[in-house]
């Protein structure tokens, strides 16, 4: 009843191939975007930006990246946090070595550097797959974190071994550094998420995305119909790492400001991103956002209910959070291995017919 495609006729190929073929979806999408760009920045405060919106947007980028690799190309990676660290340190080195470089150029370049590193660590995927590959990417995770800890060049010989972001401005407004306003942080992330989301969506609809999916579904068959596995897999690793690197750069420069590599980019974050992909839905752009939102919001919510509402000690809430997270993952895998994206699709199907059963 609410969700109708009747009367939505297409008269040109262009109209037929647009991103949201159904008018209802299209309108909703633009309403959401109008809210995100036009309304939220005026109401956002430090708490909401730092606890919810900025981490959500940054992890959404990382989840998109991992979803391109794992969901679309079928290559499992447990090294996401390591690649985020590459992005973060690349942006740090670029910002300190070339102070006059535009912030967005820095972000793009750090994505590019991460893509190179990711491709190098993706090379084993040409020979192995499944969780053998997952373990191989763990090597990347541990090696990269160790490298950034041990080689002083990466953190400019700072005494603490930490890196902290220098202040950068754009149009006279600080966009990194401690004086950055909550709304600026939010808007910087939002713009990048918007662009990257658009690119990801269209990549997966095009030739390259289809070659990934062919590899994912059956690599032999894909090779026979002319997909080059080497190109498909390495491009998936490169583009996925590009996204994750950008997420890492933003995580460091916009969100945290100062980073200690083992803490911010530890193995737990790799798992967190993987969980976001699974819970959101493997192979779904919408799911990447849903998964990231879910796993960012849930701890905040739990904390507010348990610590704020019931007055429990916060370590107890942290343990419960672990339990709930683990249980949710198992429940999702049992009930709906395709995640929130599939649930949403099922709901849409139901809404189309509502209130009639058939």
């Amino acid at each position: 009843m609410y969700y109708r495609e009747a009367g939505d006729f297409k008269t040109s190929y262009r109209a037929d191939q647009q991103n949201f073929p159904i008018r209802f979806d299209r309108i909703h999408f633009w309403v959401m975007m109008a809210l995100a760009f036009g309304v939220v920045p005026f109401f956002i405060n430090d708490y909401w930006a730092n606890a919810v919106f900025v981490p959500f947007l940054i992890f959404a980028i990382a989840t998109l990246g991992l979803n391109l690799l794992t969901g679309y190309c079928g290559q499992v990676s447990l090294g996401s946090a390591g690649f985020m660290a590459v992005g973060a340190y690349a942006s740090y080195k670029l910002m300190t070595s070339f102070p006059e470089l535009n912030f967005f150029v820095v972000i793009l370049l750090s994505g590019g550097i991460t893509a190179l590193v990711g491709t190098a660590f993706g090379l084993p995927s040409l020979r192995i797959k499944g969780f053998y590959l997952a373990v191989a990417t763990l090597a990347a995770q541990f090696f990269l974190v160790w490298l950034f800890n041990k080689v002083p060049w990466f953190y400019n010989n700072s005494a603490s071994g930490q890196i902290s972001v220098p202040r950068r401005e754009m149009f006279g407004i600080p966009i990194t550094g401690p004086e950055t306003a909550a709304s600026t942080k939010y808007l910087v992330c939002l713009v990048i998420v918007f662009v990257l989301g658009f690119v990801a969506r269209n990549l997966t609809r095009g030739r390259i995305g289809r070659s990934w999916m062919a590899i994912r579904d059956m690599d032999f068959a894909a090779e026979i119909i002319g997909v080059d596995p080497l190109r498909a897999k390495l491009s998936a690793f490169a583009i996925s790492s590009f996204y994750i690197g950008i997420a890492g750069a933003l995580f460091f420069s916009v969100y945290l400001g100062a980073v200690e590599v083992g803490e911010a980019f530890g193995i737990n974050n790799s798992f967190l991103i993987l969980f976001m992909v699974i819970i959101g839905g493997l192979g779904s752009i919408y799911g990447s956002f849903a998964g990231a939102a879910f796993l960012i919001l849930m701890p905040v919510l739990l904390k507010n209910v348990l610590v704020g509402g019931l007055g429990w000690p916060s370590d107890l809430a942290a343990h419960l959070e672990f339990m709930i997270m683990g249980a949710l993952i198992i429940i999702f895998l049992i009930v709906e291995p395709h995640g929130l994206a599939r649930l949403w699709a099922v709901t849409k199907q139901k809404l189309r017919l509502w209130p009639f059963p058939y």
Binding site: S125, G130, D219, F275, I278, L316, L320
Partner: protein, 333 residues
């Protein structure tokens, strides 16, 4: 012999002992992987949970006391008794069997026939759950575990190896922890017991049948689900042994869960389906990372133990993807 060479030998010996510890964890992985095709990421957390439970029972802690106190405003902490080590170990074993039963009942039953990677992720979820659950049940503070195993460097070995170097050189015999020696003995006993069990008992044969072919095993009347409970219980015992060893060595704490990650490269080296492989792989990794740290570590900044095992496994994968002893079942591209 020159002291430098002897130091290298000492590092090698200690590496071998550390390798035994890795092997203990890897064993649990192999058992479950063979029987159910599940790559059980939660093995490390199982060891942590078993060790926590053991300490909790030994000290007479009230389970969930933290939670109970928070909800009801009471302040209960301990029952006030102490259970002897052996009794506590037996009780913990019972807990692990119950745990195995619940895992089968609540998780595995619903995931039969799913892709291995889905099962793998389910065990990651299980690991997270157990981490939270263990801390909630017994508290998250670091606990000392003492089940009466000998500890500290062995004076006997030191005194009896001191003659190896020339008089006056700075070498005073090999330093070897007694705990490592007992861990090695326990590992040997465990492997022999497991081998005998799987070769000479009916249940053991059923386990091997399931490992060979699920469907064929089902068709001759072996209950798959009973076998899975048994395998997970055995893996639980192995986790308990590993938990005791690691807990006695470095205290029962959260970092225990990460030994699972160390066991992964051991498995890649030894092969996922081979019990001897797990042992040999553990020894190679333990030895390799200690020697690498000893010779190369000082040149590149140290702390190479964090990644050496993975990089070694990575290089190994390129040349022999099925591991040293594994079956040729790995899917190649």
């Amino acid at each position: 012999m020159s002291p430098d060479f002897l130091y290298a030998v000492e590092v090698l010996l200690n590496g071998l002992m550390a390798g035994v510890m890795y092997s203990l964890v890897a064993l649990g992985f192999v058992l479950i992987f063979k029987a159910s095709g599940v790559f059980n990421y939660a093995q490390g957390v199982m060891a942590l949970f078993a060790a926590l439970t053991l300490v909790g029972i030994m000290n007479g802690q009230v389970p969930f006391s933290h939670l109970i106190n928070a909800v009801f405003g009471t302040s209960v902490h301990e029952f006030g008794w102490h259970v002897p080590a052996l009794g506590a170990i037996a009780l913990t074993a019972v807990v692990m069997v119950i745990f195995a039963f619940l895992v089968e009942k609540l998780i595995l039953k619903y995931l039969i026939g799913q892709e291995p990677i889905i099962l793998f992720m389910a065990t990651i979820g299980l690991a997270y759950f157990m981490e939270g659950f263990g801390d909630l049940m017994w508290g998250a503070d670091i606990k000392a575990l003492d089940v009466g195993l000998p500890k500290g460097g062995s004076i006997w070995i030191e005194e009896n190896t001191a003659w190896l170097a020339a008089e006056g050189s700075r070498f005073f015999g090999f330093f070897i922890d007694k705990l490592d020696v007992s861990a090695t003995l326990v590992a040997v006993v465990l492997v022999i017991a497991l081998t005998l069990f799987s070769q000479y008992t009916a249940t053991g044969r059923a386990l091997r049948a399931v490992a060979d072919d699920h469907q064929a095993a089902l068709s001759v009347g072996i209950s798959l689900r009973a076998i899975w409970v048994i395998t997970w219980s055995i893996a639980g015992f192995v986790a308990l042994v590993a938990g005791i060893m690691w807990g006695s060595k470095s205290g029962v704490q959260f970092s225990l869960a990460f030994i699972a990650l160390k066991a992964l490269p051991v498995l890649m080296l030894g092969g996922f389906t081979s019990i001897p492989g797990a042992i040999v792989g553990g020894l190679i990794i333990g030895m390799g990372e200690k020697l690498f740290e000893f010779f190369v570590g000082p040149l590149i900044g140290g702390a190479t133990e964090n990644w050496f095992a993975y990089v070694l496994a990575l290089i190994f994968l390129v040349f022999r993807p099925q591991g040293l002893f594994g079956e040729r079942i790995i899917e190649r591209v």
